[in-house]
Amino acid sequence: MKDAYWPLILVLLLAVGFGVVAVLMSTLLGPKKPDPIKLSPYECGVDPVGDARMPFFVHYYVVALLFLIFDIEVVFTYPWAVYFKKLGLFGLLEMVVFIAVFLAIFIYVWGRGALEWE
């Protein structure tokens, strides 16, 4: 079987079509009895307190940052892994250096306590 990308478009269309149509149908078919309490944000039955704004959680930010960084490493490792057999020892050394630097990042972040979730 040869490579072909065009079927992906069909698949995408089918998936989107299914998604949109089903949601629309259910919106049209379902009952409509809105009332203010039902439409208010859910807070365990208590009246909503404050707006949805909250303090900045820096931990989430750091995790997202780590993800971004290691995602880059993953992306560079794919072509290397695929080509590894041809590259041989030299390729391995290249990747050792590359991973070593990322490990340094990792140790640094760990040591700074950015991985601790209090």
Binding site: F56, Y61, L65, L68, I69, D71, I72, V75, F76
Partner: protein, 100 residues
């Protein structure tokens, strides 16, 4: 058969749109995203040229650009976060302690 000029002109248009956004919008996030748009336009041109010439250097550069864009996003948003802590705003207009 698509002439390469189409691709390049197209990428220039996108690049310009990004430039307009980066210069005229006030929300830091949108300014940053407009800049990402500019980089994306560069990538379109690079890959177009690369595949028209049958030369892979453009694709290599494109990968590096994407990587650098990630680094820039990390640093840029960190600066925005630091600023947000100090000022509780992300609007470039409100950032005016220093006169340009």
């Amino acid at each position: 058969m698509i002439p390469l000029s189409h691709i390049i002109i197209f990428s220039l248009i996108i690049f310009t749109i990004g430039m307009v956004g980066a210069l005229s919008r006030r929300n830091v996030f949108i300014v940053l995203m407009s800049i990402e748009l500019m980089l994306n336009a560069v990538n379109i041109a690079l890959i177009g040229v690369s595949s028209a010439m049958g030369n892979l250097i453009g694709q290599v550069l494109a990968i590096f650009i994407i990587t650098v864009a990630a680094g820039e996003a990390a640093v840029g948003l960190a600066i925005v976060v630091a600023l947000y802590r100090n000022r509780l705003t992300v609007n470039v207009d409100a950032i005016n302690l220093l006169k340009w």
